[in-house]
């Protein structure tokens, strides 16, 4: 029985990696039949597959179409398992608000970040695209969000990120802000006082997690200086 369960978990992961929606559904149903813990089926099965997908993306073996299709498979599996999950204890999950800033309707990058962060355990609140600045501030305040993630592909809309960061500050909201997108650089992120910058969806998860490590740094950018700071503060991660 033990071996069979690990097979199921493996197959769930593989269905995600293979972008196979119907197989993800089938195996998820099999997991229920075999009385597998549905929570484990997600975290040790589907989600493990998505971790691998993230790795393949980082290594430039998978690209955007692959990630979108893998995510479809993952969500198809989750749909089957969801009714069997105990009432969710989201106590410890970090809440993040995400959206594409006003003036820009390109949302593929934002969707990738959302998928990857959801998989990494963040509770994502997606505001969509072309989102007014105030909406980010209001939602972050209402949800007491731990994080706000801002995306844009256009040079014309990047300055909106600064407006949002200032708005959050003015409203006394302490959510940490991560920014990313085509024209965004580390230098720009620093200039607008963002807490984090990620250059792609795979990195977004690492940066987001690093924003909630015990060590408090004013900025959590992936720079050589910071790596050495972290080392000095008790070992590299």
């Amino acid at each position: 029985m033990q071996i069979e369960k690990s097979d199921i978990l493996h197959n769930l992961a593989q269905a995600v990696i293979d972008m196979d929606v119907s197989r993800a559904r089938e195996i998820a149903a099999e997991a229920i039949r075999c009385k597998l813990d549905p929570y484990a089926a997600i975290t040790d099965g589907l989600s493990k597959g998505m971790d691998k997908v993230n790795e393949l993306f980082e290594n430039e073996e998978y690209f955007v179409p692959e990630i979108l299709l893998c995510a479809d498979a993952m969500y198809a599996g989750i749909e089957v398992l969801r009714p069997y999950l105990p009432k969710e204890d989201s106590h410890n999950r970090k809440k993040a608000v995400i959206g594409v800033v006003k003036g820009d309707t390109h949302d593929i990058g934002k969707n990738l970040v959302k998928i990857m962060m959801e998989n990494a355990g963040f509770e994502m609140h997606d505001l969509g695209r072309n989102v007014p600045y105030a909406k980010f501030v209001d939602t972050a305040g209402e949800l007491k969000a731990d994080m706000v993630c801002l995306s844009t592909l256009m040079t014309t809309t990047m300055d909106g990120m600064q407006v949002i960061i200032e708005g959050l500050k003015k409203a006394g909201i302490t959510s940490r802000v991560m920014v990313g997108g085509g024209p965004i650089s580390l230098g720009f992120a620093k200039n607008i006082s963002a807490d984090g910058y990620a250059k792609n969806a795979a990195e977004a998860v690492k940066v987001a997690k690093s924003l909630f490590q015990d060590i408090h740094l004013p900025l959590t950018f992936k720079t050589p200086e910071l790596v050495s700071v972290r080392k000095n503060l008790g070992g590299a991660r």
């Binding site: 309707t105 809309t157 024209p183 650089s185």
Partner: protein, 350 residues
């Protein structure tokens, strides 16, 4: 200090294309919607009116005397002319609002464009003609066309379209065929109007799809486009922004003579494809043109020249992608002056 030119932009480009002696490398920031600024127009007024689009580009050329005058507002213009609905912000480039092909049956309604009638193509054609009449003896007028993959993505919706590379390749090829015919029709119209059309394929960027998909879905149609352009004895120019290292070799196999590239080290590009194609790039639009200052831009221009001016098939000093519309005037001047100073031949950067 200003550096005087000895040739007109047109003479320089002609000599360059014929491998004759030139005074300096071509210096060609990708001035697109930024041209609206030269007549203090909002982008919407600029890109929806042929007179505005033409006159603003004429005024812009008189102000900066850049080596190539581009006519452009968005990569989705062809898709728009084929039925995709666009959203026009008051002062920014138009963006796709509702893609035309919502269900499979919509494919049947899809037709190649008639450039004289469809969408905003007449606006573009008028802009080209006005520029050719006013400044065409000094500079080439270069309308920019969204290539087949990019046009197809805008017809179907990019997120749906790129998944269909796996789930419905037949639909993808059907779209690509019609889009390719549209591109060719538009090339014909632009050439007739006196323009030198070039193509952009940003959705096929290495930030988006794999080399395998590029080869299967984008490359065959790009080849068709460049062989059509070559039938007019014109050079094929292919621009792809974002990360291009992964796909730059395929880009060079498309038949394009010039590759305009963005997020790639020019040394890598030179090594990978410099023997085959002329390179063009790649000062950062955001960190350089928009957010930088004249010093930063000067050193970025210099760095590009030091890396790629000896590329075997030539080099054109450019921005990696569109010059942001809010680029300060002094930054544009800094780019052009650095180009005129450092790109003077023979190259001497000391």
């Amino acid at each position: 200090m200003t550096y005087a030119d000895e040739m007109t932009p047109k003479e320089r480009m002609q000599a360059f294309l014929q491998s004759k002696e030139v005074d300096r490398l071509l210096v060609s920031p990708l001035i697109l919607n930024f041209a609206s600024r030269s007549l203090n127009l909002k982008v919407r007024e600029f890109c929806t009116n042929g007179k505005n689009m033409g006159e603003a580009n004429i005024a812009c050329f008189k102000k900066y005397r850049h080596d190539i005058v581009y006519i452009f507002s968005t990569t989705s213009t062809l898709a728009e002319a084929m039925g995709t609905r666009m959203y026009f912000p008051e002062d920014d480039a138009p963006q796709v609002e509702v893609p035309f092909v919502q269900i499979r049956e919509d494919l049947k309604k899809l037709k190649p464009v008639n450039p004289e009638k469809d969408g905003r193509l007449p606006v573009y054609l008028e802009a080209v003609k006005r520029c050719v009449d006013a400044i065409g003896d000094e500079v080439f007028i270069v309308p920019v066309i969204g290539a087949p993959f990019t046009t197809s993505a805008a017809l179907r919706g990019t997120d749906v379209f790129i998944k269909e590379l796996y789930t419905d390749p037949e639909l993808v090829h059907t779209l690509m065929k019609v889009a390719t015919q549209s591109v060719k029709n538009l090339i014909d119209a632009y050439v007739k109007a006196g323009g030198v059309p070039v193509t952009v394929e940003p959705v096929a960027t290495g930030s988006m799809i794999s080399e395998k998909h590029f080869r299967e879905f984008a490359l065959p149609y790009l080849k068709e486009v460049y062989s059509h352009i070559h039938s007019y004895n014109l050079p094929g120019v292919l621009h792809i922004c974002g990360k291009t290292k992964r796909v730059v070799k395929c880009m060079a196999e498309s038949g394009a003579d010039v590759l305009s590239i963005d997020d790639i080290d020019l040394l890598d590009a030179k090594e990978l494809v410099g023997e085959k194609v002329c390179l063009m790039g790649n000062v950062s639009p955001a960190d350089g043109m928009l957010k930088g200052n004249p010093d930063i831009i000067g050193s970025m221009v210099k760095e590009c020249i030091s890396k790629a001016s000896n590329s075997p098939r030539g080099f054109i000093v450019a921005t990696g992608c569109e010059v942001p519309i809010k680029t300060p005037h002094e930054n544009m001047i800094a780019f052009l002056e650095a180009g005129r100073e450092f790109a003077r031949l023979p190259i001497n950067l000391n």
